[in-house]
Symmetry: D2
């Protein structure tokens, strides 16, 4: 095993983010991992043979990542997205005029309730933002065709009728990048869909997601993934990757830990035993908040591609 | 604010678990929290007016919790369960004769792959356990009626045809305790359901879960919850609790942290701002692995009820 | 690699803690690790050739562990202790009549300051408890001989003049179990020692700790360690173990994680590369709060030895 | 409470780090906290009345932070440093020609031991690097005057005789920025000091640190702190701040969590109850690896001052 000396991270005034990422490769621990992840992601998206899957979990829009997700889609950095229903819901919430607000995690929650403001750690969402979302959701649901569809098609149809240049769901529709959300029923969008379906037929069959996703997997020569958080998106993508001899590239960014056996915090390495990650894959685990790493990662990537 | 002195935890040889839990109330930090959680859970299940919801996330069967879940159901400690598909799948895996095995988290994953063994942190699952599960799943799916149903009804029908005294899904069927799994599509059971549906109609409408769950909520005078891990189960139960002025009791056991804004690690306290936990509720967050706390908690409870 | 089937954890009413620990070996993840740690600790203390070192970090007395530490010393479960100064300080605080109180971590800290109460997460300490500690400390420091000494000898002398049957520092003195605290200067005891030394000579040479500790190491045929938290105690013990071909037994209980490279969260396994843990050692990492695991562990051990 | 809308983070190709930090204020969670911390740090160092204390814990040099620490000192961004002995030791190790190397955390530790390479998570240190350090340490210790001194004076004297432009200990000497290390005995430097003292008198009195540190505190109109990790450095600085009505600014960057009551993971907010942080202070907790945040933070600061 040949050892490569660590030069230590050097910084200068007015460095670009990409220059910093290159320097960060000369550090250790999470510093170096973020730099290596940028290289792996660059290689993955430059690999013409490789289809890049993006797993989205966690509160990414309340975390400020909405524009970055849109940029990733506009720049076609990813080919297929699997997300929790929350990310779709919060994207539509912003479209509806309901915003997210800066806050602190130590605010008195009973006071917030009196003020009709919900807290997502240090982000605040006024109750009326939910009301605006609900109004928009009911309006857009009117446009959904009455035929059995996967969540992928459902979200595509939603995107078709979202009139908002800042919406990443809209952007995915425009770029024809499929978004799957097999667990969408557990989200504000899911609740609105259910309410809507009480009076108007809505025919979403989550099992169809497997048909369509499997097809995408089979069409790919190689597959790679960027997991932002874990949850259903990570598990769903990993499940599909088993059909393909495993991911050739895998980047995982999460704050979850592995010791209780949950899939969200499981090391990517463990997935090798399942055949979900190929033995020779380029992979990396980063133990950090997505909201801290993603701006760095995408900022670096934009400078490279 | 009147202060109560900490007496410090005293231990004696041959203490019962319940005696230890009572002593642990005289400690601090997680020690005391587990003791307090036992008291809250005791109060919740003794509260005749209160319906107790159980959220199951994480790898509970690979973590050894299968028998304990069954005991909780047999003893009717809970009234309604919301789970990820994984817990159902791994319960059925055991029914099918496919077992989980003791392992270590530092085993070489490539060697495991060659040996056809999957790793879930320190637990191992041979590939043939999945094969056994798949065979059983296809067999049981044959019995599912061809009509539109919620996941609750689907799992009830599965339970009807599971011939295994150790299965907690079977036990829930026998006790008529509903199990919801709105995200079941993302699980081995979901994949088997999809495969089955390629040749035989299977009509599971996840949005129906909202109808049935809401009814259960509305029927309840008071509601309380024990969250084992977070994820979809926690979010789904919390979403329902908003319709009810909030949970009167809430116990959360997770290793997830709150700083990245995800719902799994969010403090129960935050839910007060949403109206998901009542202002005067008895609630507690325990930062620990469910597999360490649940045996203590239920062992203590069995001695009390 | 021969695989051993997981039987799943069974619980019964009125189980003893030791019965539960034995059952917990049939679970996974942290559940099983606590059971295995109990076995390893049992083997270590029964191993007549092995000297057992105990590392104490974190807020163990505010966590309610004071009596348990005393029991461990009274029962001679350990041969040598390395601790932060905080644990000595809080032990003496209790001796002085200054107590720790039950609290919550969400109490308003500015209110607490007005009430003259300090918060250690969910434990509260009134300012007058510190005042009582300071009075006692100055009194006991009067008895310290004026000669150059290690922290080990300093704490022994303190113990000689503590008149409190509940003090673990006193118990260690009575049992002649050495306590080292090379970082004691950074503690309330260290501050009191400094104040005292402004008028009366106090001659503590922390480097002498190495002489005495190394001697204990060299006298031992085998060495083993139980690390409660990490910090200076873990590092100091590990440093000594390098002189001995490494620990034959190592149990680590911490909530710290390894990804940022700190020694506190480092896996015991990493220490193998340093020669600090022997290649064939029996070792285990438990990711949990000491205050939750220690009562279980020692309760089980008391039933076994 | 007036709410400020979150604009979401926008990124562009070739952004500077400082531009990204400004954008990151429009995100949430850790993203926004890093941006706010940069503002607080900027305000703290621009505040002529305020003395800035830097707490250094964790494996910062194996994490690649050596050059950045030197830059912080050269640019006089801090006025006083408290560190674990490890950071001094690893700085001197680099001076001695013993380097740190890039590695992975999943390398076989027994293989590493055979190769005579130690592992610090994903960083590797060959045994001969320790040997080089030991040689240099013994050489430099020869120059230490034989009089009683604090660790501050000891490290100053070490710095005087380090001939290395890249050493941050040397840089602190040149800039006359005091470095305290009350727990230095527990470090490679401490071991070398002890070995040296077996034949040549070495008279380091850790209690003197309190005298000198208290003086610095008393000389200051206002005090502020940046805590990189927790441990002894954080506790020592916080202890001093109590003498001053508390820190006016406090930034904490750590991966440690608060639930087990340890000081390292304790929220800065808790310190308000102790009077260690002033009621009106500007403070923030960032849950992240220092090696990821520090390059961003200092890179941003260099562009601002």
């Amino acid at each position: 095993m040949k050892l490569k000396k660590m030069k230590q991270v050097n910084i200068k005034p007015n460095m670009t983010v990409n220059e910093l990422l290159i320097e960060m490769k000369e550090g250790g621990f999470t510093c170096r991992k973020v730099a290596l992840a940028t290289d792996i992601f660059e290689e993955m998206i430059n690999d013409k043979e490789c289809k890049t899957f993006l797993g989205l979990a966690g509160a990414l829009v309340p975390g400020g990542m909405r524009k970055i997700l849109k940029i990733m889609i506009d720049q076609e950095l990813v080919d297929c997205i699997v997300t929790t229903g929350a990310n779709i819901s919060h994207d539509l919430m912003e479209t509806s005029g309901g915003s997210h607000y800066h806050g602190r995690e130590d605010i008195n929650d009973m006071k917030l309730k009196e003020m009709e403001v919900s807290r997502i750690f240090s982000t605040l969402v006024p109750y009326d933002a939910f009301a605006k979302f609900e109004t928009l959701a009911q309006k857009v649901l009117e446009t959904i065709p009455n035929r059995q569809m996967s969540t992928r098609e459902f979200i595509y149809e939603l995107g078709k009728h979202i009139d908002d240049r800042d919406s990443f769901v809209r952007a995915a529709y425009e770029k024809n990048i499929p978004i799957f959300s097999p667990s969408f029923a557990d989200s504000m969008l899911g609740v609105q869909s259910w309410l809507f379906s009480q009076t108007t037929p809505l025919n979403i069959n989550v099992l169809r997601d497997h048909s369509e996703f499997t097809e995408i997997i089979y069409e790919s020569n190689k597959i790679g993934a960027l997991f932002l958080g874990g949850g259903v998106p990570k598990h769903f993508i990993m499940n599909g990757s088993q059909l393909h001899n495993g991911l050739s590239y895998a980047i995982q960014i999460t704050m979850d830990r592995p010791e209780h056996g949950g899939v969200s915090g499981a090391s990517v390495k463990e997935a090798i035993s399942w055949g979900k990650v190929a033995s020779g894959a380029k992979w990396i685990n980063i133990m950090a908040d997505v909201t801290l790493v993603l701006p760095l990662l995408i900022s670096g990537i934009l400078s490279r591609v």
